[in-house]
């Protein structure tokens, strides 16, 4: 699922509507700088709306979960 996600998203976030704001938000969620997260969240809400940001936060939370499922169980891609 995770590598599938990477293929689907590609490398050029700015090609997507609000891609730059989404990428900055995901990066801030993965970090520990609360001020950076506050700024990234506000920028995403300004570019979209609160409902959009909440769904982005849910997707981020999902992959905080799925990465730990994969890492904690030694999940390998099928050869």
């Amino acid at each position: 699922m995770l590598s599938w996600s990477s293929r689907e998203a590609g490398d050029d976030a700015t090609a997507l509507p609000h891609g730059a704001e989404l990428r900055a938000f995901a990066e801030a969620v993965a970090g520990h700088d609360d001020d950076a997260l506050t700024r990234a969240r506000a920028a995403l809400v300004a570019a979209t709306d609160e409902r959009f940001m909440l769904d982005a936060a849910a997707v981020a939370a999902n992959f905080e979960m799925m990465t730990r499922v994969a890492d904690g169980t030694g999940s390998l891609l099928r050869q």
């Binding site: 699922m1 997507l16 989404l22 909440l54 849910a58 905080e64 799925m66 890492d71 999940s75 891609l77």
Partner: protein, 211 residues
């Protein structure tokens, strides 16, 4: 802020599940495991991966999953099992961590107050496990037989059906269900599928998740 009702309900169910008796641990033990993972996840400067801050196998696995999940190897898993943690206890620790951490991750991302873990639910471990277990090629943990018929993350927690059920309840509310995934155009009217995958892939890359 108004959180979707289905998402709020999924987090309520998952948080209660995390502190309720499981297959091998009682509710108090599971709550301690969840708290160790949350403390590690929220710590901006956690102990390095090779440090075992608790001197307790289950809590140290939870700590490493919370703070340094990508550093967990088959060799470390086997070492911990050799030291006395049963393989299904390891699976249960993973289940507790991944059902307790997402609500905190969501709250932090969304700028909401961090939720406290519920009080532990009294009772003894229920012992529910898959009818038949099998070693897997795609995971280092045992899984429900037959092994390796589905993707590794899908079979990852299948040895403990209650943990598996809550994992996929959360995945459906936070991201999408298997059925929704089959429709490349499905979305909630907010993020498009490529936008969802951008968040997913960036997060997974920054977590050094190689899967």
């Amino acid at each position: 802020m108004s959180v979707r009702a289905d998402l709020a309900e999924a987090y309520r169910v998952a948080s209660l599940h995390a502190v309720s008796p499981g297959a091998r641990f009682d509710g108090a033990r599971r709550r301690a495991i969840a708290q160790a993972a949350l403390d590690a996840y929220l710590d901006p400067a956690p102990a390095p991966p090779w440090v075992r801050p608790y001197g307790d196998l289950a809590l140290d696995v939870a700590h490493r999953l919370g703070a340094h999940a990508a550093t967990i190897t088959r060799e470390w898993y086997e070492q911990v099992i050799t030291e006395g943690l049963h393989p299904l206890e390891w699976v249960e620790v993973v289940g507790v961590v991944i059902t307790s951490l997402p609500s905190a991750a969501f709250a932090r991302a969304a700028g909401l107050d961090l939720p406290a873990l519920p009080t532990a639910v009294a009772g003894t471990p229920h012992g529910r496990e898959a009818d038949e277990l099998a070693p897997a090629r795609l995971n280092f943990v045992p899984v429900a037989a037959p092994a390796d018929q589905v993707a590794a993350v899908v079979q990852a927690l299948s040895a403990l059906p209650d943990e598996w059920d809550v994992l996929w309840l959360l995945a459906g509310a936070q991201y999408m269900s298997d059925r929704q995934m089959d429709d490349p155009l499905w979305n909630r009217g907010t993020l498009s599928r490529p936008q969802m995958e951008l968040v997913a892939s960036r997060l997974a890359a920054l977590r050094d998740c190689l899967f």
